[in-house]
């Protein structure tokens, strides 16, 4: 579900990240999607620690079809200590995978911004993998409302 873009393209993204959006179409409407499996595959079954990665999402989405998402991971981004990958999943979409971002010390900072699509009110999870194999995570709930009665 990930691809790699050239370094030039990566720099053009600003923060020097390698990004791809892998957003599922309408899949079978199971109550629970494949996000657990994606996380397991990414972490190798190791439990991530809360912290270091910070997700920035609105409390309430103005438009579920295009929700601004940004994250930053605390890291010196040196050869010795840097972020290698960040996985973003959505627990309540037809498919859980939203994106995987790849970093290297040359990225300078481990941060990125994009837009995601959310089908309903749900948790969005970001998990950052460090070069030493440690894992950090953040979770944010985003409310996607039917709306229309405020006044």
């Amino acid at each position: 579900m990930t691809t790699t873009v050239s370094r030039r393209e990566a720099f053009a993204l600003g923060a020097g990240v390698v990004a791809v959006l892998a957003l599922g179409g309408a899949d079978k409407a199971f109550a629970k999607n494949d996000s657990d499996d994606l996380i397991k595959a990414f972490t190798g079954g190791k439990a991530p620690v809360k912290g270091k990665v910070k997700l920035d999402l609105p409390d309430i989405a103005e438009n579920g079809n295009t929700v601004p998402l940004a994250f930053t991971v605390e890291s010196p981004m040196t050869e010795a200590s840097h972020v290698t990958d960040v996985l973003i999943v959505a627990e309540g979409n037809p498919r859980g995978g939203l994106a995987t971002f790849h970093f290297s010390p040359r990225s300078g900072v481990a941060e990125a911004a994009t837009r995601i699509r959310l089908a309903e009110t749900q948790n969005v999870i970001a998990i950052a993998k460090m070069n030493d194999g440690t894992l950090f995570m953040d979770t944010r709930q985003v409310k996607v409302t039917i709306g229309g009665c405020g006044g």
Partner: protein, 566 residues
């Protein structure tokens, strides 16, 4: 002359006795109201300090005096449970030691509303509001800052017909120093920009940004110098405008609370020498209460949106929160002693605008008359009569919405009716004729189509759950203001303390007494859909058609909603 003490001790009994003589013409009401209370009494204020903030908000385009009944229920959740403004009626009067039957009791509580309305008469009227402001300016000279909290340009017939121009022209005569907005945005991006360009004073919205690059669309703040103090006013539009109202009308603008950006703006204006920082907010009271505990450096928040009227400020840390009511019913005056960048002392009065007591300002009255003249005859046409009080405010239902739901059920041949939980719309007294204007005052807006569609039981529950969470989520930042969507032909139970998805139960179709089946389709009629391309006749025409067949209405206000966990 009546002293303020006499005025406060004026008893409900006297009012009720007078009311017994009948509905009373305007003249009688005026004579009686003036006998009990004079303009000087309503405006009495011992000045303090070097700055006076004057706040009006949520006028909802009501240029003319109206009746306005305050809610019986205004449930708070989480930290807001049972504290102002979630205190109503008798409890409100006791909390603030307001004598029953006094002008302020009439204005703030629903107790004896009908009797007091007959004796004190109507409230508001922009020409009366102008007189109050004029008198404050006369007393305080260059110390006065006038701020409009928004919801000014829409929700009457003439404001709809002129796309807000009637309000813009009349408000210009009041010379506000700044405004912020919410319903203004339902005029659409182009019209808002067109008005703002010629407004003559700043339209402040720190939290409105261009969707793509997050550029500011409007000025975030303005600096005003008064009484030797540099006053920064920061504007905050309703954060949830694109959810609560049609996003397609403002496709290029994005909102949100934007706490971080607000803190940065406060820090910026402080650094620029502001001695007083005022947030002119349309967040809603509970959102502002939370915000005041998280954003530092704001001295005063002038709240709006939730239509709360409080006779004293609520203090959160060092921040004063002011709640100035709605529909032109009140003018807030806050005198401040500001020295060395600190508020040393303050004095506040929520001034009830009793239309029969306060003289109209001639220039404003003339401009109102000019805008109304082409429509006056039509607006005055009687289309029905009510035997009971028609009002909108209340968490779950209001008699005004009962009339609208009945009209939707009958005219759109539906099993279930949904009417939005708007908080705007004046009240009518028992025995009063219903004019076309009264119907427009409860319905006038730019997306009035009365739709008719099939919804499953599951979908109806989802909608009720969604709206309930927008009102009763314990986190104010997830609340959008407004009240619960009103229902016709349907009863249900709500446990407001539960989380989303488990608040609503026992959905029952009134017509048959049967529980709603999750997969069965029901015919639902409603109005004010935020979706583009919604089809159907305008809601006011639906109500007119219904009144033609059943001209006398008498909703009792009995709710079909069973409330738990309040």
């Amino acid at each position: 002359m009546t002293t303020r003490r006499d005025l406060l001790q004026f008893s409900a009994a006297a009012a009720a006795a007078f009311a017994a003589t009948g509905l009373g013409t305007g003249g009688l009401t005026r004579a009686f109201a003036q006998q009990r209370v004079g303009e000087a009494d309503l405006l009495a204020f011992e000045p303090l300090g070097n700055v006076t903030l004057v706040h009006v908000t949520d006028i909802h385009a009501q240029l003319m005096p109206v009746y306005f009944r305050e809610p019986t229920f205004n449930l708070g959740v989480g930290d807001a449970k049972g504290v102002p403004p979630h205190v109503t009626g008798k409890a409100l009067l006791e909390t603030y030691k307001i004598p029953p039957g006094s002008p302020l009791a009439y204005a703030l509580a629903d107790i004896d509303f009908e009797a007091l309305a007959k004796s004190y008469g109507r409230v508001g009227g922009l020409d009366r509001v102008a007189t109050v402001i004029e008198s404050i300016r006369a007393a305080r000279g260059d110390r006065v800052v006038l701020l409009d909290g928004g919801d000014t340009w829409q929700n009457s017939y003439t404001s709809l017909a002129t796309k807000g121009q009637d309000m813009v022209d009349c408000m210009a005569l009041l010379k506000p120093d700044a405004m912020t907005a919410h319903w203004e945005f339902t005029l659409g991006e182009e019209r808002v920009k067109e008005i703002v360009e010629k407004l003559g004073f700043p339209f402040l919205c720190q939290n409105v940004r261009e969707s793509e690059f997050q550029d500011e669309v409007f000025k975030p703040s303005t600096m005003i110098e008064r009484g030797g103090v540099k006053i920064a006013v920061i504007g905050q539009a309703l954060p949830y405008t694109p959810i609560a109202n049609p996003r397609w009308m403002i496709p290029n603008w994005t909102f949100g609370i934007r706490e971080k950006e607000l803190q940065a703006e406060v820090d910026k204006v402080r650094a620029a020498g502001a001695g007083l920082v005022v947030l002119l907010s349309h967040n809603g009271f509970d959102v502002d209460r939370k915000l005041a505990s998280r954003v530092t450096g704001i001295d005063v928040i002038l709240t709006a949106h939730t239509h709360d009227a409080l006779p004293a400020p609520v203090k959160v840390g060092k921040t004063l929160l002011i709640a100035s009511g709605s529909h032109g019913k009140f003018v807030s005056r806050l005198d401040l002693d500001v020295r060395d960048g600190t508020v040393r002392d303050f004095r506040y009065r929520l001034i009830p605008v009793l239309s029969d007591v306060i003289k109209p300002n001639a220039a404003v009255a003339a401009t109102i008359a000019k805008h109304r003249a082409p429509h006056e005859k039509m607006l005055g046409e009687v289309v029905g009569k009510t035997d009971t009080t028609l009002y909108r405010r209340g968490n779950f239902n209001g008699t005004l919405d009962d009339v609208i739901c009945d009209a939707l059920l009958a005219e759109r041949d539906a099993e279930i009716a949904l009417s939005p939980g708007f908080r705007w719309g004046p009240s009518l007294l028992p025995g009063q004729s219903i004019t076309r204007e009264d119907v427009y005052n409860a319905t006038a807006m730019t997306y009035p189509a009365a739709y008719r569609m099939a919804m499953t039981g599951t979908r109806l529950k989802e909608i009720l759950e969604d709206v309930a969470d927008n009102i009763f989520n314990p986190d104010p930042y997830l609340q959008q203001g407004g009240d619960m969507v009103r229902v016709g032909g349907l009863s249900y139970t709500i446990d407001i303390g539960k989380p989303i998805g488990s608040r609503i139960g026992d959905l029952t179709l009134a017509r048959t007494g049967a529980s709603l089946a999750p997969d069965k389709d029901y015919t639902v009629a409603g109005w004010a859909s935020v979706n583009e391309g919604t089809e159907g006749p305008a809601i006011w025409d639906v109500v007119f058609d219904h009144l033609k067949k059943k001209p006398t209405v008498a909703p009792t206000g009995a709710s079909t909603v069973k409330i738990l966990g309040a």
